[in-house]
Assembly symmetry: C2
Homo-oligomer: 360 residues x 2
């Protein structure tokens, strides 16, 4: 672990619900790779968070595969395990403790205002009355993730910004009640709007690229699959009037840059460029990104156990960090002193039994 | 620890918010003493639960005293540390884990229906909008307490019966989703109605005896204080029409029995007995209960560190029990297998590094 303690701590990550895709790449993975050199990065594999909307046994049975997928994808993209701590959320017990302690400080009405929870419930097709305590508590559990690591920087999508606000509120209320223990975290919002999905799956053209809509180009897709999927990108009239423009041009901006995308747009309008030729250019640009990613994926996958070792080592390190933070929180609250006082009296009694005349 | 595993497990306990009083004695402590011979008893000192309504630092600063008070009172009443496991809730980390896992299974709307939470919020003078996530989750944390011990018997007051229903619902949903792990707990309701408070404090005559109303006769009060407080018990017209009758006669029933209380009632009505003489009879009866309690309290208090040793030993035992239960729950969910799989691959890699030709 070469990360220096003087660097600001960053925490980010994903729920292990499937392999990562191009939307993740431009929306957050590229940022992670850029930030790993100037931050001490914790990357969570948030398996507990999957329980908030996917608690069924067959869903949990997919975790072992998806946990590996999510970490392998990030290693393939260029995150360096010597710089970054990957860890499994459910393997860090102190996070549960911190979440329960923070829950005591957050009004229920505050959490009911968090819009993303209602969209998560809708996305998971939960009826309104079926929102669980766990889903309501999602931002508090996330606050525990962030604050166990004392992370001050959390890169998120716009729809998760309010979760970081909740983490800051937890820190503020805790610090006011018990003394300064937690830093105030800032969200850094991704500059990329969500990438649209391809015209496969149930999302249809214009929907955000998403595993659950089946309209994603995965980082682990092979060359042929990537090309086939990208050829479905549309450039029709309805599409052009969408807020971020035709799907094809959003991809052009993401993978060719603003200038080339603008030129591609004019040439498509004037008829100087065919849609098929535009697809070719985008496929080539995406492949320039994916080829080295496939290469690194193979390197990591070929070393049996390396991926798992990275997760296990990182989780053990996260545990140590979380245990220290929890101890500081418990000390500030007086819970640590309560227990220490009981143990000290017990030890004094044990000592007196061994040396009955010690106090004469 | 002489308790046999074949006995049904019982869990009960108190929030350490002050010393115990006569209301606790007749409402629950007598039951605990009777049940300790036929059950394997876990008695929780529920310090985390105090955070739901009393999270402020000066309130937490009282915990070390109140934790000792609550256990010493129970030892004084006749609970036998060789039969009973006393433990400190915050000292059992697996309970936090279980609570977070159960939260994923309980609809928020279900918890909003629990009436006692609204009365707790009112009693703590919290405005309606200030109910915390922690208070809403109180019954789920209690479910974790009960189910970590696999307790099937939980003696409670009528107002907490619904919490036991929630514990049963957590167990049922968990078992349905992941397989049989938890038993279904039954509440056994105390046969005693709440003892009224004395006419001191802010409760006024007829209010339930309660630490927070300042109208309690404590098990630790000295002879003179007990007599002074009991002499304030009223027997006036307004009082007689209360649902459980005049405060004085409720005490007579609790400490002299139904028959003597009935006779006392008639004699007070007929004027054959003065209120002062009735007070004398009740004071004498209460003292017959309190004298041996004071005696045992002194015996335990005189052995420096014994009280603390009982709590520390019990907490360590509760930890072992809770860790086993948590492991079973995690195994059923697949979380234990997820971690074990990662560790196994890591170990295989480490072994291969040591013995590079092992797999040739």
């Amino acid at each position: 672990m070469t990360a220096s303690a003087a660097r600001p701590r960053l925490l980010t990550g994903d729920r292990p619900t499937g392999p990562l895709h191009l939307g993740h790449l431009v929306g957050s993975l590229d940022t992670r790779v850029a930030l790993q050199d100037v931050h001490e990065c914790f990357i969570i594999v948030a398996d507990l968070h999957t329980l908030t909307t996917r608690p069924k046994k067959p869903e949990l049975a997919q975790l072992p595969r998806f946990v590996r997928d999510v970490v392998l994808d990030q290693l393939a993209v260029g995150l360096d395990p010597a710089k970054v701590t990957f860890y499994l959320q459910s393997g860090v017990p102190a996070v549960y403790d911190l979440a329960i302690l923070f829950q005591m400080l957050v009004p229920k009405a505050r959490l009911e205002q968090v819009k993303s929870l209602h969209s998560m419930a809708r996305a998971a097709a939960l009826p309104e009355g079926a929102m669980t305590m766990g889903l309501l508590g999602y931002p508090v559990l996330q606050a525990a993730d962030i604050l166990m690591a004392r992370a001050t920087v959390v890169p998120v999508g716009l729809d998760n910004e309010e979760h970081i606000t909740i983490a800051r509120e937890c820190a503020t209320v805790f610090n006011e009640l018990y003394g300064e223990v937690f830093p105030l975290t800032e969200a850094t919002i991704s500059r990329w709007p969500a990438l649209p999905g391809v015209a496969e799956g149930i999302g249809g053209s214009g929907a955000k690229m998403s595993k659950s809509l089946g309209n994603a180009v995965y980082l682990s897709d092979d060359v042929e699959t990537v090309a086939r999927k990208l050829r479905t990108l549309t450039y029709d009239d309805a599409d052009r009037r969408a807020p971020s423009g035709a799907a094809l041009l959003v991809f052009a901006r993401a993978f060719l840059g603003d200038q080339e995308a603008a030129q591609m747009g004019s040439e498509l309008v004037s008829g100087a460029l065919s849609v098929g030729a535009a697809h070719d250019a985008i496929i080539a640009a995406v492949e320039r990104r994916l080829a080295p990613i496939r290469e690194r994926r193979r390197e990591f996958a070929d070393q049996g156990g390396l991926l798992e070792e990275i997760i296990v080592d990182g989780t053990i390190r996260a545990r140590e960090v979380a245990n220290r933070t929890l101890q500081n929180a418990r000390e500030a609250m007086g819970l640590e002193g309560l227990w220490a006082g009981l143990v000290a009296a017990t030890e004094a009694r044990a000592k007196a039994r061994k040396h009955p005349y010690a106090n004469l």
